[in-house]
Symmetry: C2
Subunit: 206 residues, 2 copies
């Protein structure tokens, strides 16, 4: 059994954030497939045994079960000394962007992609609403990247891993990635060990 | 001038999370009103001078400008030694709930209230969508509170302050607060220094 076990499924960009971190850090890990589209995360057993929040990903390490991608990235950064902070101001600057990601960026991108690309729902007032939120959040990141190469602290950190999680799904993304955001994604893609989500984790949707 | 200046407006539950922390910690602070409903946070000047994310709240302290309520709560907990963590596991447990709050709980509650109670929009597919998300997030917190008095670490922390932020707006909330969540809110309301959001911050909607 690998040292790290990531409860995940290929379609989850939140799980991918962690898979990519494990990958970039060269850690010994294996995916444990969650049958998301059959409702596994919403079931009583999953909530009792794995994650009361009913969400992927969950990282299993030395008997611990960690959830929330931001917290798992934090845990792995502290453990490996990679992509983390050098002081408390940096820690908070990194979390400022992870929180923005969770609240505005990933939150809208993931839900829009889920509805349009995975569930094949037609455009509606809800997708229009979500598109507005994706655009607003994208503009904030686009403007931010005008004066920095990476999201926080002037170097690659777990804030980059959090924000980029959903942006590597290519044709599944029902919106345009703006130019500086795209250039920043290409920098991450060029790092040693980078792999596409579906090459790191088993798909749950067949 | 007060030591802490909170750029805020009364209707913002995210600002209220920080106002309540400043209040419970007995700090010397004053509100600086943001004209949110006239578009102040969305303007170029605000984004350049105050917060590139275009959001309230922002805390001004000793020349620093801090944004994201979760990060400001973290900053104040470290500064005062109150409502924070005793070790790294506790820090991550607290952030696990702050992230859940930002992604699922506050995110859906704030947007639903904004549309229905503040903008007086009629019920629609979007409000129905948001209601579903509020219900799911509320169920997670309701189940969690079956076996603990507070959100994280078995005591009052900044995780409680994050999650409760929007729940004290009374009749403005277009949904029911579930029983255990309500009982937990009453415990927070009973703490010395508690005040209603509109008694701590100036309203922007007139």
């Amino acid at each position: 059994m690998a040292e790290f076990r990531l409860h995940c499924f290929g379609e989850s960009g939140n799980a991918y954030k962690v898979a990519l971190m494990l990958q970039f850090c060269g850690l010994d890990w294996e995916p444990v497939k969650i049958d998301f589209f059959k409702g596994e995360t919403r079931g009583t057993k999953f909530r009792q045994d794995v994650n009361e929040m009913g969400e992927a990903p969950v990282l299993e390490h030395k008997g611990k079960l960690l959830s929330q991608s931001g917290v798992i990235l934090d845990y792995l950064a502290c453990l490996t000394g990679k992509f983390g902070w050098a002081n408390e101001d940096e820690r908070r600057e990194i979390y400022r962007w992870i929180l923005f990601d969770n609240h505005k960026f990933t939150a809208s991108i993931a839900t829009l992609r889920y509805q349009v690309a995975l569930m094949k729902q037609p455009e509606s007032d809800v997708t229009k609403f979500l598109r507005g939120r994706v655009e607003n959040a994208m503009k904030v990141v686009e403007a931010h990247l005008a004066h920095t190469d990476f999201i926080a602290c002037g170097r690659m950190t777990i804030a980059d891993l959090s924000l980029c999680g959903y942006l590597f799904y290519g044709e599944e993304l029902p919106f345009d990635i703006s130019p500086r955001v795209d250039a920043w994604c290409q920098k991450i893609r060029a790092l040693p060990g980078w792999k596409h989500p579906y090459d790191l984790m088993p798909r749950a949707l067949v």
